[in-house]
């Protein structure tokens, strides 16, 4: 399987609001499981119930979206990978926002899901454009570092390391880490507490 992620194209869904935490993305009661299967249907369950059909995940115009557009500090709080897993299982393959909480960002990268940021002005233009015309195609291009929609092509940011992992298809880190077997041993044996502080 080619794991490289160079661009994600598709319709988008706008989820406004800052500091949306992972408890809201997937309430803790759904963490009582030993597999991630089936989590998609519970994404934002409590917010959706309280919105009574008006939540962006429930309105017809955003149905089938591949890109989720969010605000600032999205995914803050709990480290639960269940959050990006639930969003991925709902069909999202990329995130565009003002900023992402770091553990959430790391979890996304580990699943091959790019999370890129735009300047506040560009993000507002993207959100407005997608809300006005939700059927349009939005393109997240990692190689070009851009997000394109009808309102324009915007410069996107993503840390170089994560971008490289996605472009090269090495986001499943285990095999990369295993390449350095010898160096892992050497590092361990240099650490005083690993060797029991033996003089």
């Amino acid at each position: 399987m080619d794991a490289r992620v160079e661009r994600v194209a598709g319709s988008a869904c706008v989820l406004r609001g800052d500091d949306i935490d992972t408890d809201r993305i997937i309430p803790a009661r759904y963490l009582r499981c030993v597999t991630f299967d089936g989590l998609g249907e519970y994404a934002f369950e409590d917010d959706r119930k309280q919105a009574k059909g008006d939540h962006p995940f429930d309105v017809a115009r955003f149905r089938g979206a591949a890109i989720l557009i969010v605000g600032r500090n999205f995914g803050c709080g709990s480290s639960r990978e269940h959050a990006p897993q639930a969003l991925m299982r709902r069909g999202f393959r990329a995130f565009v926002g003002a900023s992402f909480a770091e553990i959430f960002f790391g979890n996304c990268t580990a699943l091959g899901l790019p999370a890129v940021t735009l300047s506040p002005g560009d993000l507002a233009r993207l959100m407005d454009s997608v809300e006005l015309d939700p059927a349009q195609e939005v393109v997240v291009d990692l190689r070009a570092r851009t997000v394109a929609c009808r309102a324009g092509t915007f410069t996107a940011s993503i840390p170089d390391g994560a971008r490289g992992q996605l472009l090269e298809g090495t986001w499943n880190a285990t095999s990369v880490l295993l390449e350095a077997k010898g160096a892992i041993e050497d590092t361990a044996h240099r650490l005083p507490y690993v060797t029991g502080f033996a003089g």
């Binding site: 480290s79 909480a101 240099r190």
Partner: protein, 467 residues
């Protein structure tokens, strides 16, 4: 050339190699595991045909799903029982030490690591839980991670990380009676914001931190993640070494002296370079209470709730959402807000010193009628120590329930939950919507002593009046 911070020294000592794009393959010295974020990691490991590279550097316990009225097996909740069995199976098959239900070492993972002496200065620590930042209190670099990274650490004892910048946060002066470590970290997050720490490790310092016990430092470091920081730490000192001396997994004999020498050496140099510095006046910190839906939305107990026009434009939408969810009014006092539930416990404030302070308040009265009040010790060891001091009797006499150790109502993955729109005075770490088990339940974060005061009064009260 300027000196180096603890982060620089510990990072470099654990760097296996640099990766393209500026990332580091970092060796993890201690891997802590619990039942919620590990089962899928173990399955994935098996699918890849891999084992656990350093089982002797890996320790597990059960905390999130464990009931607090009884740990009797099988657990009443089938899903919880399945998770516990999965962890028992995974740890026994792979040679990982497991402090399970019924073990006298069981407890919240971030409480038992320190008390067993597993957490030590200069280590890198990872756990599939965001509050892993807690362990930074010893001068360790401790990272909360997701399940894919748990798999990586199991398989390789390494993870891929970008080196954070360091922000030194100095808290000067001295805390007044009734002001606790919880109030310090709430003040820091209020000032720097819940996203202010993105890209940073927080180095907490200054006279207030230097005067704190390890348990208080654990409370501060615990909520680093609530400020958006990747981790938080305090440089190790005599208080750190005194705490560690004689613990089960602490170095012993001649090794101890060599350990202390190394621990001293990894502390930040006096002339270390920091990407940012922030100063707070500890004298000005008062008992604090959150009123909103993230931990940055807090006030001192004597303050009125902020009006929308007093807040920066980009904070208003969140504030409006908070007031609507909490049914609180801008301009109103927080003191006197009625509560339904009082929760004392969690990895933030479930240690013995927290329970002692809460008991001190509990001795002065009775839980108000209509208030459900719970005390959940952070570990079996904390529970034993509390029992030796007679604290369960103090709490019970005042009308609190005394429970068995676990995460409990901090995130309500076990049967301890808010019901409907209940308002909870809580010593935990998150006031997110729905966090305590009811989608419409409401949380007011505060110190354990403040929770005890609120329990007795039936409403948010100034603990200083009860001291």
């Amino acid at each position: 050339m300027s000196g180096r911070s603890l982060l620089d020294k510990v990072w470099d000592a654990h760097s296996v190699r640099e990766l393209p794009g500026g990332q580091t393959q970092l060796f993890i010295g201690l891997h802590l595991i619990h039942e919620v974020t590990s089962p899928q990691a173990f399955d994935s490991l098996r699918e890849m045909g891999l084992g656990v590279r350093f089982p002797e550097r890996t320790f597990a316990t059960v905390d999130h799903i464990i009931p607090t009225h009884s740990q009797k097996r099988p657990l009443a909740d089938d899903l919880a029982e399945q998770m516990l069995q999965a962890l028992e199976r995974n740890t026994s098959q792979l040679g990982i030490r497991f402090f399970g239900a019924g073990s006298n070492r069981q407890g919240i993972v971030h409480v038992i690591g320190p008390e067993l002496g597993l957490t030590q200065p200069g280590m890198t620590i990872a756990c599939g839980d965001s509050h892993t930042s807690t362990h930074g209190a010893f001068g360790a670099l401790a990272f909360g991670i997701g399940t894919s990274q748990v798999r990586d650490v199991l398989a390789t004892q390494c993870m891929i990380l970008s080196r954070p910048k360091v922000r030194r946060i100095e808290v000067g002066g001295k805390l007044s009676p009734g002001v606790y470590a919880k109030d310090v970290i709430l003040a820091i997050i209020r000032q720097l914001g819940v996203n202010g720490g993105i890209g940073f490790a927080y180095e907490y310092a200054g006279p207030v931190l230097e005067a704190m016990s390890i348990e208080e430092r654990l409370t501060v470091c615990n909520m680093s993640i609530e400020g958006g920081a990747r981790c938080g730490y305090v440089n190790p000192d005599e208080i750190t070494f005194d705490y560690l001396r004689g613990r089960e997994y602490s170095p012993k004999g001649a090794d101890w002296e060599r350990a202390v020498t190394w621990w001293r050496a990894i502390a930040s140099d006096a002339d270390a370079h920091y990407a940012d510095r922030v100063a707070l006046d500890g004298n000005a910190i008062a008992p604090s209470v959150t009123f909103g839906i993230h931990p940055g939305q807090s006030v001192s107990v004597g303050e009125r709730l902020p009006r929308l026009d007093e807040m920066p434009a980009d904070a208003r939408a969140s504030l409006e959402e908070a007031y609507a969810f909490m049914s609180l009014r801008p301009g109103a006092p927080i003191e006197g807000t009625p509560i339904d539930v009082a929760f004392i416990g969690s990895c933030t404030n479930g240690r013995i010193s927290d329970l002692r302070e809460a008991a001190r308040i509990a001795r002065t009265g009775k839980v108000a009628s209509g208030v459900r009040a719970l005390v959940v010790p952070g570990s079996q060891a904390v529970a034993r120590e509390a029992e030796q001091e007679g604290l369960p009797e103090v709490f019970r006499a005042a009308g609190f329930e005394w429970r068995e150790p676990g995460c409990s109502m901090c995130l309500a993955m076990n049967p301890d939950k808010l019901v409907g729109r209940e308002m909870c005075a809580s010593s935990s770490n998150r006031n997110f919507k729905g966090r305590q088990g009811s989608p419409t339940g409401r949380t007011l974060l505060m110190s354990p002593a403040m929770v005890a005061a609120a329990a007795l009064r039936g409403r948010v009260a100034d603990v200083r009046e009860l001291l």
